[in-house]
Amino acid sequence: MIERKVRTPILLLCLLPGVGYLLALFGLPLVRVVYGSFTGSSLEEPGLGLATWQALFANPVYMDGLWFSLWLGIAPTLVSLLISLPLSALMQANESSRRLFGTLYKIPLVVPGIVAGFLVLIVLDRGGMASRLATPLGLSVPRLVRDDLGLGAIIASTWKTVPFMTLIIAGAMAAISKDVLAAARTLGASQVIILWRIQLPLAQAGITAAILLSFIGSLGSYVIPSLLGPAYPLPLSVHMFAEGFQKGNWPMVYAMGTLLSVMAVAVLLAYYTIIGSLGRSKPGAS
């Protein structure tokens, strides 16, 4: 440290731009969201109550939306993990193809979510390229766009998430000392054992971050489910927009927003608890 005793004013002055900005434009709106969910039909109305929350939990449309939001958060994360882990490991295994592949696989990172939705639409929608290619072969493509399970939305989210996850996980794996891997191989470990016993545990901090960021990103996404998802159920993110900007029912928007945020934080905490109990990492050590 440059100076052991930094004067508090200097510290505060340094923190002010970043933290102050986030306090004003993130903290304040968030407090308003949580507070607003407990006020009555309008914010000006005095008194706090649970009326909005009761209305939210009593409405099966919203409850289905809650589960659907969670589904749209969890499913793409799991599928992406199943693709990203082997991709990251393969990239470590093949030095020669890594340079070009290592550049190209990241392209979806810069592709907007709405374009990802568009790609799924033209490939997988009925009359899309997949069904045109499959029909002459006597195959039929199941309904993947606006289907009940939101498979199209899950595919689009996964498409966006895989490079993001792979970037973080491959980065964490590349940081593992080559000597450790060589030692394991000398001692007779197979590629699979090395992946399972060395690469995964040592890259675990990266994998954790990738899982959480991907889950949260998909949980609140609006454009992909509204483009590719079914007409029912709608995720809470889509409900929020409709309730707020179309119906003006702001307390309900705030309650849904609070619920989504609580979900995200709950999953975060649950995840750290599970990982922590496995004894592989110290939660919150960063």
Binding site: P17, G18, L28, V33, S131, F241, G257, S286
Partner: protein
């Protein structure tokens, strides 16, 4: 050093990697290209795999659309300002987090990360309503302000990680040689933080350029960025595939350019250092 034992193993790995790319990237983009260049006068219906004739009519239509080019300008303007402001706001905070020991530091770190944890739509909808009261809804300033909420956390993380990597001895040396603290920061730390600025700045620019949800909730319908304009061809009024395909290409071109730049300028490890742990 290669891990695959045999040449055959290496080849299989290569096939797997590029097979994945072909299926998920080249194939869909090729279909977008077909849609962008097909001839609407002839049409392109199943079971045709390739359109029967091609034309530039969708491009002519898009370039004649009075919303598209201004939208591209707005996108560019917003992204440049968001990137500059994000860097300027993030640096002092990152400096404090990297160099000063203080109580509640952990709390500040968690708070800085909180906008990443809370789904963006929650803040977007709430700010959309607050901005409406202050007359900021539907303004470019409003869109810039709301986007920075999403980009600031990553920039602070990446800059903090970069600044932590600067040897303290360099700062000491500058101070010993008579530099004021401010001078030491601006002449020594700031230039050394360049890799962080490059990585964070590119990430910010990309995030801002492709951002849809926040810009839409705060800016729509007055402020049109390319991403929200694309929405009106896909989800809004009607499904216009050829136009959407052309706008997709217009949206992707600058992204790919920046992407190539990013590959040249920055290394993954800077990015991974900022994102790799929560």
């Amino acid at each position: 050093m290669a891990n695959g034992h045999t040449a055959r193993g290496q080849r299989l790995v290569g096939v797997a990697l590029y097979g994945y790319l072909a299926l998920t990237l080249f194939f869909p983009v090729a279909i977008v290209a077909l849609w962008a260049f097909y001839d609407p006068a002839v049409g392109w219906f199943p079971p045709d795999i390739i359109p029967r004739s091609f034309s530039l009519s969708a491009w002519a239509e898009v370039l004649a659309d009075r919303h598209i080019l201004p939208a591209a300008g707005v996108s560019l303007l917003v992204s440049v300002i968001v990137t500059a402001l994000t860097g300027a706001l993030a640096f002092p905070t990152a400096w404090a987090l990297a160099q000063f020991p203080f109580r509640l530091k952990r709390m500040v770190e968690v708070f800085v990360l909180a906008p990443v944890i809370v789904p963006g739509i929650v803040v977007a909808v709430s700010l959309g309503e607050i901005f409406f009261r202050f007359g900021l809804a539907g303004t470019i300033l409003g869109v810039i302000l709301v986007q920075i909420v999403g980009t600031l956390p990553f920039m602070i993380r990446i800059l903090t990680a970069t600044l932590e990597g600067i040897p303290n001895e360099l700062i000491y040396a500058a101070r010993t040689l008579g530099a004021t603290p401010l001078l030491a920061v601006t002449r020594v730390a700031l230039p050394l933080a360049w890799p962080g600025f490059a990585a964070g700045g590119l990430l910010t620019f990309i995030a801002s350029f492709e951002e849809f949800e926040k810009s839409f909730m705060v800016g729509a319908p007055k402020v049109r960025t390319l991403a929200t304009q694309l929405w009106s061809y896909l989800g809004g009024e009607a499904l216009v595939l050829p136009t959407a395909a052309v706008v997709t290409f217009i949206l992707l071109a600058p992204m790919l350019l920046i992407f190539v730049l990013a590959e040249r300028l920055s290394k993954d490890d800077v990015m991974a250092a900022g994102l790799g742990k929560l």
